[in-house]
């Protein structure tokens, strides 16, 4: 037994190429497993963060009826109360008050229905990324009144450009039609053309002047980090229970469950990768067993029984896995460490994806438990893969040993 182990250990150093191939397969298998998992979670995280940054923020506050209808009559009563609450909460990094209305935008050529978002430009800057998504123009830099930001797709539809004049039409709180002329100060582009076509930004001050009231419909806020959201959410729900408070998971449940959805995918992909690995190892080892037929035949000729030969090959595989596993984990960890700092830019495989904010760069992230899990799995699968070639070895005839050249 001990000698078989001794022979097994020395055997793996005797044929570097063969051993390298098996070790290489194991290293690749572990690396692949770690990378794919980290990449997938990173992808989800990027999507979540991107959506939070560009669209839904961490928490939103509305009038309780607002959701059913989006009617401007459901504005936030007592906004100062909310403001105070938010300012005193240490977990909250920034907040933005917004007015939201539906209306029409018209150019000399065309009209279109749009969602008008009235913002406080300084507050908004801290909470979303629209200020950095401009392809032309500026973010309300001018002190002039009635400046507007429109999407590139909309500018094309309306056939307007920077500094063009457009007319916004909407209803005030008494349902009177209000119109105002605005000048395009900036043009933005996001990942979604539909959004660009249907959304415009103006300053709250201008909006409130036109509808003659200081009304806000929504507060969007960012916490210091994603981890703070849960506690902040519960705090605000309690303290601001006259309002509707929603966290990002409630607003976009598909994001919240993105990890779960992805886990089914991941499971499928991992199975495929593991199977590919196993068959690769089986093939390599079958080749190896055949190459060693003389040596193995000789062992059986002189009296080493079948179970010992089987054990010999399995032990060799065990040692190779023992060498390969830490190497694989190390390589995986190294890759994750490097890419989690610099990120992986998807533009290398996608075609110039447009985006505001975090966009195309993925930062792989993985929980430590996976390193162990993957390595153990590959280790076990490698041993399982070795069973078939080992049994084939037993079918070798001792006469192979006697065969003269």
């Amino acid at each position: 037994m001990k000698t078989t182990i001794k022979i097994a250990w020395r055997n793996i150093w005797r044929t570097p190429m063969r051993s390298f191939l098996v070790i290489g397969s194991i290293v690749m298998g572990i690396w692949a497993g770690i990378f794919v998992i980290a990449f997938s979670y990173g992808l989800n995280k990027q999507r979540t963060l991107s959506s939070i940054k560009n669209s839904i923020s961490h928490i939103q506050i509305h009038h309780p009826e607002y959701d059913k209808d989006y009617d401007s009559k459901y504005f936030l009563e007592n906004p100062d109360l909310i403001k105070t609450e938010l300012e005193t909460n240490a977990n909250i990094k920034a907040f933005a008050f917004r007015s939201l209305l539906n209306g029409m935008i018209s150019s000399p050529v065309k009209s279109n229905g749009v969602r008008i978002i009235g913002i406080n430009k300084n507050q908004e800057k801290e909470v979303t990324g629209i200020h950095s998504g401009l392809v032309e123009g500026n973010y309300f830099e001018s002190k002039r009144k009635n400046q507007i930001l429109i999407g590139e797709a909309l500018s094309k539809k309306l056939k307007v450009k920077l500094r063009s004049k457009i007319v916004l039409t909407f209803q005030d709180t008494d349902n009177n039609i209000v119109a105002g002329a605005f000048r395009v100060c900036g043009i933005f582009k996001t990942q979604y053309t539909k959004y660009d076509e249907g959304t415009v930004f103006i300053q709250n001050s201008d909006l409130q002047r036109l509808i003659k009231s200081k009304e806000f419909h929504q507060v969007a806020l960012l916490c210091n980090s994603l981890d703070d959201v849960d506690s902040t959410y519960h705090n605000l729900k309690t303290n601001l229970n006259d309002y509707e408070v929603k966290d990002w998971k409630t607003i976009s449940p598909e994001l919240a469950y993105a990890d779960e959805i992805m886990e089914t995918w991941l499971f499928l992909i991992m199975i495929i990768i593991m199977l590919a690995l196993i068959f690769g190892i089986i093939n390599t080892m079958l080749m190896a067993v055949f190459e060693r037929r003389r040596e193995l035949g000789m062992l059986m000729a002189i009296g080493m029984n079948k179970s010992k030969v089987f054990f010999l090959i399995l032990t060799e595989t065990f040692f190779l896995s023992l060498i390969g596993a830490p190497m694989g984990m190390f390589l995986g960890a190294l890759t994750i460490k490097l890419t989690s700092e610099t990120g992986i830019n998807l533009a290398i495989v996608g075609e110039g994806l447009q985006s505001v904010g975090l966009g195309n760069v993925i930062y792989p992230v993985i929980e430590t438990k996976f390193y162990i899990f993957i390595s153990v799995m590959v280790f076990i699968f490698t041993l399982i893969a070795a069973i078939y070639p080992s049994r084939k070895a037993l079918k070798l005839k001792p006469t192979e040993a006697i065969r003269t050249i």
Partner: protein, 227 residues
């Protein structure tokens, strides 16, 4: 005492419908203490015959008895065990386990037999001394010359105290000096300790040293000469 007895031993190969009788009803008897060479041209069937006598191949017809035991009736694992205890092998090449030293190679057989560490150590040193390689105990096969490797192989073959030693072209890869050293050593063992040797060979020097020469052609014994 009769060590080896074959009765009507036959091996037929079927190759795409063509039947080849590699060994054709051979009756053979080898006694203890013999130093016998089986000779014949390539394709004569001597390797096949030796394979069957060594229990490495099964026969189509007929039986092989080694030291009274009919080896055809043994199962595969029993056969391996039998070889371990009763037959010592010296092949033309690839005799030794490449990753073990000379001493470890010799000990290996005894390890398989279950001897104690002390016994193994003692006997392996003894045997290697006997074949003139006392200074090469810790050398690996790739550090030994061809002749030296074959001598280790003989030491190993003797380690299990077998009924006989089966040597298939043991000198084919050796120069004349190594050949004579090896042969002299084997002859001495045969004389002094009555170790039975059965060779299969082309080598004239081996044939010259043999006391019985069995010639095989087309699967049959055509000459059996005792000197």
């Amino acid at each position: 005492m009769e060590i080896i007895k074959t009765t009507h031993l036959t091996k037929v190969y079927s190759n795409n419908g063509l039947e080849v009788k590699a060994v054709n009803h051979i009756d053979l008897s080898i006694e203890e203490g013999e130093f016998t060479a089986i000779v014949g041209p390539s394709g004569s069937g001597k390797t096949t015959l030796l394979n069957m006598i060594g229990g490495l191949d099964d026969s189509t017809e007929g039986t092989v008895k080694i030291a009274g035991t009919n080896i055809n009736s043994l199962s595969e694992n029993e056969l391996i065990d039998f070889r371990l205890k009763n037959i010592g092998f010296v092949f033309q090449a690839y005799n030794l386990i490449p990753v073990l030293t000379a001493k470890e190679n010799v000990e290996f057989i005894m390890l398989l037999q279950g001897l104690s560490e002390k016994e193994r150590k003692q006997r392996s040193e003894e045997l290697l001394n006997h074949v003139g390689l006392a200074d090469k105990l810790d050398s690996r096969p790739n550090q030994l010359s061809g002749g030296q490797q074959q001598r280790v192989a003989v030491a190993r073959a003797l380690a299990s105290k077998p009924s006989f030693i089966l040597a298939d072209e043991p000198t084919a890869n050796l120069d004349s000096h190594s050949t004579s050293t090896l042969l002299d050593m084997m002859a001495e063992m045969n004389e002094k300790e009555k170790v039975t040797f059965l060779f299969s060979t082309h080598d004239q020097r081996v044939i010259d040293k043999a006391r019985r020469v069995i010639t095989i052609e087309d699967g049959k014994i055509i000459k059996d000469e005792r000197r």
